[in-house]
Amino acid sequence: MEKQQPMIRLYSVTKRYAGGVTALDGIDLEVARGEFVFLTGPSGAGKTSLLRLLLRQELPSDGQILVNGRNVGALPASKVPDLRRYIGVVFQDFKLIARKTALDNVAYVLNVAGHSRSEQRRLAYNALRSVGLNHRINTLPRILSGGEQQRVAVARAVVNEPELLLADEPTGNLDPDLAVEIMRLFREINARGTTVLVATHDRELIQRMQRRTVVLRDGQVVDPGTPER
């Protein structure tokens, strides 16, 4: 039987910033389709840089990045929005549009993908309900608590049923109970087939979840973890 193409494949990826700072130093990494992987390491290890490269917010200085078989670094600018529509992202600082309600923030992703207005509202409502925020759909982000904002961000990341979900310190601003709640949501999403890659330095959370953990230090993979079978 033919081996399934991995969701993420990094070949000797290096990222150097102006001023000579090397964030990633020739790393190789593979994440299989449907896997749930933690990316951990101390601050400055290169976790955020790696996620930024996967989302094509930046280009690698060297090496190749394949996401779902697509060479991210070689994608023409016009194809970047397509790539991002198949990746759900949860940021540490939520990145919600301040003047839009919770529902409109979630629906925006569907809007850019060309869904009809009624479909946008229905799917966005369902996503918000799945994170327990169906009673807050018409609320602006500034009225929501940090945990609620993060749940809106999660709803936005999953509403399009992405093939890959990236999360950068998604529990960094949350209390432990909420952090567990967010992880429960990620596990549910992963159970539906979405590949999940979570960058975090919360060791307690990683231990509780018992999933593959890739450890980065000084821009290098010091432990690739054990891939799930």
């Binding site: 929005p81 529509r85 919600l96 549009i97 925006y108 809007n111 850019v112 993908a113 009809s116 207005r117």
Partner: protein, 301 residues
């Protein structure tokens, strides 16, 4: 993309533009006022030029020779002149204006200053024959010939066919048009720059939002859409406001001129801005604001 999808997208751009307007009205009001002020000035110039042009057109069509008669000319002499004039080619009509009618015309024209004439003991104005010519390219030559021939005739004090004033007025109008166009280009370049700067402020205020939109898969065109629709809306609102202000100013000027017998002011405010000029003003407003919006957002996305 299907038509229905395009319509939905446009609806979203319009809703989003309005939503953005409500959240930061200050910057948007500044942009609209700047553009409306420039368009108001352009509208005023257009109003004045339009009315002067209309008057010049009337003068151009009103081709007539005035033959002023000596008081000593009797009815038989006047009749002979009239017969001779009517026999000439290119003459459409000959009208006799007696001294009383001439005074009446003067009184009507002079308005408040007509009391001066009333203070005179005798009517100083001469009777005249007004020779209306057939309008057309030959009218000018006919008029000149009639004036030259009749001013030498017995019983005639003066024969006047003065086209110089009209020619000077036409030349002035041409100059005003050229100058106005040059000034217009300069002013509108400046307004595009100001609009682009003001809109750039709006874009800058939303740079986080723009980043988020791009990160969740919006195309640059999708992000630019609401800004361009907002630019279109601003152009439309600004030009309509400017047109309203021009019409208000025209009516105000008319009322002011009517009360004080200001003939010139009355002349330049006689008719509203024409449909063509109004359409041009709106088009310029839309073009300026769309260009400004495009340049503002192009730098950010």
């Amino acid at each position: 993309m299907k038509l229905r999808q395009r319509i939905h997208r446009l609806q979203f751009f319009a809703t989003d533009a309005w939503d953005e307007w409500r959240h930061s009205p200050g910057v948007n009001l500044l942009a609209v006022s700047t553009l409306a002020a420039a368009l108001f000035l352009a509208g005023l110039v257009s109003l004045v030029l339009g009315n002067v042009e209309r008057r010049v057109e009337q003068l151009r069509d009103d081709v007539r020779v005035r033959i002023f008669l000596l008081d000593s000319l009797d009815d038989a002499g006047r009749g002979a002149l009239e017969r001779e004039l009517r026999g000439m080619q290119g003459v459409a009509e000959v009208e006799y204006v007696d001294k009383a009618a001439a005074l009446e015309r003067y009184t009507e024209w002079a308005g408040a200053m007509a009391t001066l004439a009333a203070e005179l003991e005798a009517n100083p104005l001469p009777a005249s024959l007004e020779v209306h010519l057939v309008p057309g390219p030959a009218a000018e030559a006919v008029g000149t010939a009639v004036a030259q021939r009749f001013r030498r005739m017995e019983g005639v004090e003066e024969a006047r066919f003065d086209r110089n004033t009209l020619h000077r007025l036409e030349a002035l109008l041409d100059l005003a048009r050229i100058g106005g166009s040059g000034l217009g280009v300069l002013v509108f370049s400046a307004v595009v720059f100001v609009m682009a700067s003001v809109l750039r402020l709006a874009v800058y205020a939303r740079r986080n939002e723009i980043d988020i939109m791009l990160l969740v898969g919006a195309t640059p065109g999708f992000v630019r859409g609401p800004f361009l629709v907002a630019g279109f809306g601003m152009g439309l609102v600004s030009s309509l406001v400017a047109l309203g202000l021009v019409e208000g100013a025209r009516r105000g000027a008319q009322a002011y001129a009517g009360n004080r017998a200001l003939v010139l002011l009355d002349l330049v405010a006689a008719h509203p801005v024409g449909l063509e000029q109004a359409a041009l003003l709106v088009s310029v407003g839309l073009l300026v604001s769309l260009t400004g919006a495009y340049f503002a957002v192009r730098r950010a996305v």
